[in-house]
Structures are given as C-alpha cells and as structure tokens.
Symmetry: C2
Subunit: 207 residues, 2 copies
C-alpha cells in the first residue's frame, strides 16, 4: 500500500485509495414522496442541512431510486426522522423498492400544507419540504428542499425545542466492516465553547 | 401553535414552522484548504457522501467562510475526520476565523498527491479531494469533491478496513437545546438485514 510520512515522521499514513466517503456515521432519515399517487419512503444516510436563512436540507439519492421521480413530479418531499424503536421498519424500507412493494401501509401516513409530501406519524420529527432544485452530480442527484414545516409532538419537546434524548434518532455506520445502525452516545463537550479551553491553553503555552 | 391530526387521531402533530434542519446529529469533520498558501481548517456538520462510483463527498459551507476561497482557488480540499480526543481542538477551529487567526500550527499538517489539500496527521482518517463542482444554493455553497485518496494508519484498521471503534468519530447535535458533541452509542441492528425480520413479521401478519 502506498504510504506518506508526515513532517515529524511520527505518523506513517497509508493510502487506502478512492474508497467510499463516510467513515463517520451518518444520520438515518426516511425520505417521503408520493410516487404514482402512493406514499413511498426511502431510508438514507446521505442527508444534510443546507442553510439557515431560509432553512434548507440536501438529500443525496442514487438515480436508480424509485423515490426520485415522485419528488420531481410533485416538487415536494419530506424528511422523516425515525426513532431507535423504528430500526427494523426503517431498514425494511431500504430492503425493498417501492417499484415492487407497496410501502404506503407500513406506517400511519399524514400530510401537511403541501398536500403531496407524505409524512410518518410514528416518526418523532417530520420536515415538510418544497423542492428548490435538483442537481445532477453523476451517479446521484441532490435534491435541495426548503423546509416549510417541522411536525412533532408536545411529548418530544423540552422548553419548546425538540429534545434529542426524547426523539432518539439513530445513525448508520457505512463502513464495510460492520454496516451497523448505532444510537447516540455520551456528551463529549459543548459546541462553540469547548474550543475556548483549547484557546486558553494555547495562549498560556505561547507566553 | 398550528397542529395537524393524523388519520387515526392518535397522534396530534404540532408545527414548529420553518426551523433549522437537522434534529438528528451530524458527523463532525474538519474541511482543510490552503488559503493564501496557508493551511486552514473549518469544522462542519453539513457533510455527506455523494456517490460510490466514483466516490464523492458533498460539503455545505456558508458563503461567509474564509475556507471557500481556498477551495475555489486550488480546486482541492480535504475532509479530516477527528477523533473524540480532538473535541477541544476541533471546536477551537470553529470558534476563530482563519481570516483572523493562523490555524496552520494547531495540528501537524501533511499533504498527499494533490499537494494543495492540507490534511491533519492527528486525524485517524483524511480524505483527499479534487473539486468537482461548486453549487450556489443561496446562503451556502455546496462543494462536490472526488475522493482520490483515503489516508489512515495501520492501527485504525481491522481486516484492512477502517474500524469505527478505533477511530472514534463524534457528532454534533445542532438542536438549540444543547449544541453538544456526542460520541457514537450502542449498536441497534444490522443495516440491510434488520428489515428482513420486519418483512417476515408482516408476511405472517397478513396470512
């Protein structure tokens, strides 16, 4: 295997080549779309936020998926965040294609103001999205959506905000080693805050 | 707050409106780019895989960031996956802007075959990327990169594959409730497998 020596020579890096992207686990969401006027749901890990003002999401789907035509046809979709207790049902939606199996009866489906973006009542959080644009990136398409509504229930809130400990989302580790779903672990520090300790330590060290 | 009754009426959904996207935690990575010929690193949570053939990543950055000009100038960048023990140093990179602070000495920096995509020796995994395209989505830009190399060390592998338990990546919960970093939790089921149980249960139920 080719290797690279770093400056200090302390660490010898090996190059695994052009392997699959995500060694860090990704959040698991179900993308909902009406296809041929039936609700369909596809679990994915390639999902990210894509803006605060206005709030946007980006969903990356292989072009082979059945879901894509539904999003393009209706110009709407949903991002449904499943809970740990929905691992089996979520995974099932990825094991079968909507082109062969009817996924409209797996969950209790509801609609919001857009009328054509199916959402899952059992999911603690559902984002109702209006399609902003579709970007062709080769094997996949990126669907950019504007979040119009965020549906949840009172029991999932703490001080009016969705509480991670209550909704219990889960992750996919796409490493070929395990292909495993994982829960969320222990807190490791406050964001936009833990770094201040580091800053102070650096300051002291350079004095 | 506006609410929606689902079909069964069992669940009353409330609508929090157009709030920020990611109620599920996102993986934390450091995006590396040379800006004005100096290595600079920006921690982000808006990162996703974007293709297997060829392997691609998508990195979503607010247009305000200093890093963007470096990626556009060199047409290269890196995605560096930090370990749990790097929470403070990673967060620090998000607390200060490269336009004001020199981030080139925080880590031991190394370069691969592209020569201009700085990577972090302390990170257990580094993806070296060639810029494929930049997509303007309003407040943010999406940088699509082709992964050319994946740098790691022997000690992070199990059977030749990067082992999640060894590299210990961490997550950001962007909920306004906690803004907290989290470790990876317990396994919750095998992907593309757990759903088969669900499928069998469904079959039995409909017999």
């Amino acid at each position: 295997m080719p290797s690279v020596k770093t400056r200090s020579g302390m660490k010898n890096k090996i190059d695994l080549g052009a392997t699959v992207a995500t060694y860090c686990p990704c959040p698991v969401v179900l993308v909902g779309a009406n296809v041929k006027e039936k609700p369909n749901f596809l679990p994915i890990g390639w999902f990210t936020g894509a803006g605060f003002k206005p709030p946007k999401v980006a969903v990356v789907l292989g072009k082979v998926h059945y879901t894509n035509q539904g999003i393009k046809g209706n110009k709407t979709f949903s991002v449904c965040i499943p809970s740990e207790d929905m691992v089996e049902a979520t995974d099932y939606c990825g094991v079968v294609s909507g082109s062969k199996a009817d996924k409209s009866t797996i969950f209790e489906v509801f609609y919001g103001k857009l009328k054509t973006a199916p959402m899952i009542a059992e999911c603690p959080v559902n984002l109702e999205c209006k399609l902003d644009k579709v970007i062709d990136i080769g094997q996949c398409e990126i669907f950019i959506g504007d979040i119009l509504s965020t549906y949840t229930e009172e029991k999932h809130l703490t001080n009016g905000t969705v509480d991670l400990k209550k909704i219990k989302p889960f992750l996919l580790s796409p490493s070929h080693l395990d292909l495993q779903y994982y829960g969320i672990g222990e807190p490791k520090g406050k964001a936009w805050s833990a770094g201040k300790n580091f800053k102070n330590k650096r300051k002291r060290a350079t004095k």
